[in-house]
Structure formats: C-alpha cells, structure tokens
Amino acid sequence: MKIKQLSIFLENKKGRLWKALNTLAEGNINIRALSIADTSDFGILRLIVPEPEKAKKLLEENNFVVKTKDVVAIELLDHPGGLSDVLKILNDSDINLEYLYAFVHEKKDKAIVLLRTDNLDQLIGVLNEGGTSLVPPEEVYDL
C-alpha cells in the first residue's frame, strides 16, 4: 500500500521550480499531487506522478537531485474533522509524522492525504486498526 513519491532538491531561487516542472512537462509527465517544503535557501519539492521511475530518470538527466520515498495515502470524507480524527489515532499510538499533504479526489468528492513517517509499516498497521481506508498506489497514480 506504499506510494512512491519523488523528492527533489531545489535552490530557493527564481525559476528553479519552473525548471523542474517544465522538465516533467516536456517528458509528458502529469503531476498528481505536489507539495513544497521551503527554507530560506533551499526547498524540497515532493511529487506524486504516474511513473515515478521514469520521472526520476528524466529529472536526473537534467541535473536534479531526486530521491524516491514511500508514503501512504488515506482517503477521508471531505468534511470538518476528517483529518483530525486520523491524527488522533496516530497521536494515541505515539506516531510522529514527518510530513503530510492533502488534495481533493475529484472523482469521488473525497480528500486524499499523503503521510510520511520513518516506520511506514507501523503506520499502515495503526491506520488499518483504526479503520481508516488506505488508497492503493494504482489509484493514486491514476487520480
């Protein structure tokens, strides 16, 4: 149930995000979800794309530093409290999130949240026990 996410190093400088995204555009790669963590001098761009290995290769050919990281996707009802209920489960199980980001699943009118912890198997176990529905990779890539 793990989804491959691409993490890309970006200098915090004009035109760098464009360069990365343009590289993907020229490779005809569509982006399913995106988030950026930024600091004063650099940023980390996190992407979900349908063919992560192909995208990674393409970015690396263009001198980007790319890492593939596994994340977990969950599906939530798009209403108040949906996410906090899940976070409570994690909190009660003493799981510390490294990061998360969310987007809306247009076809189903649901919210998809991508989660990252250092022990993903434990995370998956806790989520399953808590009755949260995990979204399989194929579905995320194909959103």
Binding site: S7, E11, I44, V65, V66, K67
Partner: protein, 433 residues
C-alpha cells in the same frame, strides 16, 4: 616630527652603503648558522663572498612560506635558542604555522621601526594609544605596543573585542590614537553611535590601520566617522611584524624601513626583478635581524615602489598600499583564509562534491563568508531537518579548519561554474582593490 632623522632622511648613496654592508653580513650569518640556507646556497653555487654590490642580491635564492614551514619550528634560527627571547607565529591556517623568533636586539629593532611609524602618523609621547590588535602569537598587538613604549606614549593594551568596553575607555581615558583593522573600526563606530559616543567630538587625532586590505573609500569613511586621519601600517610575521612600512602624513604610500628591510619587486610569473615604478610582487630581505634573518622572502603582496622624494622629507622608498595577492589568500575579518582549506574541510564529509564557491561580502561593515556547496544524491534528504543538520555539519567542519563561522548554502548539482583551467573559487564582493 621624524623619529630617527639620520636613518629616515639619509641620502640614497649613504643608504645603499649601509644596505650593502648589512646584506653582506646577513648573508654570511645565514650561510654560517642556518643549515637550510647553507644548503640552498650550496645547491645553486652562491656564496657570501659573491655579494659585492646590492644588485648581487639577485644571485641569492628566494625564500617562500614553504621553506619556512619545512624547518618548523626553529630551523630558521641563526642564534642559539637561549638567545631567542620571544616567539610569534603566523596564523598557521595552511598547515603548520611559520614561527618567528626574536633576540633582545630584534625586539629593540622592532620597537625602533614601529616608533618611526607611529611618529610618521603624528604621534608623540603625549598620546594615549588604544591598541585593539590582538596580543598573543599574532604580531599585531605586540608590534604596536613595543613601538608605543619606545616612543614614550601611553599604550592601552586592550586587544580585540569587548567592543562596548573599547568605547567606554576611549571616552573615559581620552584616547588620542586608535589602532584597528578597518572593518573592526567601522564596527566600533557603529557601537559608539549606539552608546551615544561621538568619536568626532573626542580627542582622537590619528588612526592606524593594519592587517587588512582596504580601499580609499573605506579610509574616507573611517576618517569621517572618527574625525581623524587614518594611516596604513604594513608588516608580516615572517619578516618581523607591523612597522616594516608605515604611511606618513602625505597619505600616499608607506615608507619602508629600507635600512633594515631590503625591498625588491619581482614579476610573479618569471620571478625576474622589475624596474623601479613597476607593479609586481614584493620581496623583502631582513638586513639586520639577528634571531631569524629571512632572505628574499616572497610576500605574495602586490605593490609598487616609488623612489621619488617624499613631501615629508623622508628619503626612504614608499610602497603603494597592497593592491592584491599573487596567491588566492583571502583576508576575512583579518584572518587569512585559503580556498584550499575549505576544500580540505569539504572533502572530509562523505557525499560532498568538491565543487564549491566562496562568496565574501561586507554587508554591515563586517566581512561575511558564504560557502556554496553542491548537493549530491548522498547528501540530499527528503527532510528539512536532515538537510539543516548537513548544512550545520559542513559549517562546523569549515570552522574547524579556518577558525571562522561561515554561512553554508546548498546549491543544485552542476550549478556552480566549471572552467577549463583554474576554477573560480572565490567571488570577493567587498571591492577591496
């Protein structure tokens, strides 16, 4: 006022006579007492008796910083160790430091040349000199101190730092002379303003600059902020320390104490002696030093000699303020830094590419150094906190190597300029030259 009119205003003929006599003596002493020189002279087949005229100095081998390092620590001493009464060292930033040894006579000589220099700046025994140069292995603090004592002025050996205390003492003691590096001077003036102390309304009458390169704009700015003229002091640990050359009231060059230090200008590429008035690398020879005579030392400082008679009446040659270096040494906050040290630090860290660039700026009157390092797949982490930890690690490795805190910036791979020959490692935006 001239401290030693006989020495500082003598005719060129008289001076050259003294220089030749002392050169012959020093070459003899070096050959007899310093095995390193003995060997170097033998290697090229030159002997003390070959020095018949001043031009014959060209027959002697050069001394480089590497020579001095090779014989670390005491191999350059020309007298028994018991006769050495004081030791200083260069900052030692590129490997072992250079050790400089002084006999009692040498310390007296050092006091004499610095007393000449302080007098050139218009200072006398009535003055109170606040010496912000560091006291320690660095020659800056002690050199000024000895000169001030020789002259009979009052010296406040406050050393560097304690900036608020500096201001308090300037005010309370009625300091008339400040000795500082230009960048520290600018910082002092800012703190003075914060403390409500106006140096232009103080008793300050002269400023001595040392240990750093600066521009005329910088001098004007400092003179404006302190309301006193600023004079350049030149010196180097290998040869003696500050006082080798100092600027007079004309403020257009530094008089070299030629009766004790013989200057030559060489072409950095060919090492050939250049004609008077041409710009090249300064080479200095100790003519009278006892403890550690250094012959034809390549300073790597770029300057020009001017033999015209000076308006101040001194006949000693004047050198321009240093306009550059023939190597890639940088002075950042007064500390000598070589790009190779940064490289050494970076190569100790797994995953760091040896592609880097050093950017030196002076944003708030103080030098800042940024080191840009290319990210690699090994260094890169998906997490911000990991990346910050890597930056801090690189920063602390560099600090260990050079003794200065730097800002580390991670940049994208292959984003730093590559060049065919020598890479451009340093971008100095301070406009010092």
């Amino acid at each position: 006022m001239i401290w030693n009119e006989k020495a500082e205003c003598m005719s060129r003929d008289d001076l050259e006579e003294i220089q030749l006599k002392r050169l012959q003596d020093v070459v003899h002493r070096a050959y007899q007492n310093v095995p390193h020189y003995h060997q170097k002279f033998e290697d090229i087949g030159v002997f003390p008796e070959d020095i018949q005229t001043l031009e014959d100095i060209g027959k002697l081998p050069f001394t480089t910083k590497d020579d001095l390092r090779q014989v670390y620590p005491f191999g350059m001493f020309a007298v028994p160790k018991k006769d050495i009464i004081e030791i200083h060292t260069s900052s030692g930033t590129t490997g072992k430091p250079v050790v400089s040894g002084y006999t009692l006579e040498d310390i007296e000589l050092w006091s004499e040349i610095m007393a000449r220099g302080l007098t050139m700046m218009g200072i006398d025994e009535e003055d109170i000199i606040q010496n912000t140069h560091g006291y320690g292995l660095f020659t800056g603090g002690f050199g000024v101190h000895y000169g001030a004592q020789k002259m009979g002025s009052t010296v406040i050996p406050i050393s560097t730092g304690q900036t608020r205390r500096q201001i308090e003492i300037m005010n309370d003691f009625g300091t008339t002379v400040m000795i500082f590096t230009p960048s520290y001077g600018l910082y002092l003036s800012e703190v003075a303003e914060e403390e409500g102390f106006d140096p232009t309304n103080s008793q300050l009458k002269a400023i001595g600059f040392g240990a750093e390169m600066w521009t005329d704009e910088m001098r004007k700015e400092i003179e404006k902020r302190f309301g006193a003229p600023a004079f350049n002091i030149y010196g180097l640990t290998e040869i003696m320390g500050p006082g080798v050359a100092v600027e007079c009231q004309q403020q257009n060059g530094l008089h070299i104490c030629e009766d004790h230090f013989y200057p030559e200008i060489i072409d950095s590429k060919t090492s050939k002696i250049m004609e008077a008035g041409q710009t090249g690398e300064l080479v200095l020879t100790n003519l009278s030093r006892q403890g550690m005579p250094v012959i034809r030392f390549i300073t790597k400082d770029i300057t020009r000699l001017n033999y015209d008679v000076c308006g101040c009446g001194r006949t000693l040659v004047k050198m321009d303020r240093i306009t550059g270096r023939s190597d890639d040494m940088l002075k950042v906050r007064g500390v000598a830094v070589f790009p190779s040290q940064i490289e050494k630090a970076l190569l100790k860290i797994d995953g760091v590419e040896p592609h880097y660039q050093i950017i030196v700026t002076r944003p708030n009157r103080l030098d800042e150094m940024e080191v840009q390092v290319e990210t690699s797949p090994i260094l890169f982490s998906d997490e911000v906190k990991e990346m910050v930890a890597i930056k801090n690690k690189i920063g602390s490795y560099i600090e260990n190597e050079i003794g200065l805190r730097v800002n580390v910036t991670l940049v994208e791979p292959k984003s730093l300029p590559r060049s065919e020959g020598k890479a451009v490692r340093v971008i100095d935006k301070r406009n010092l030259y």
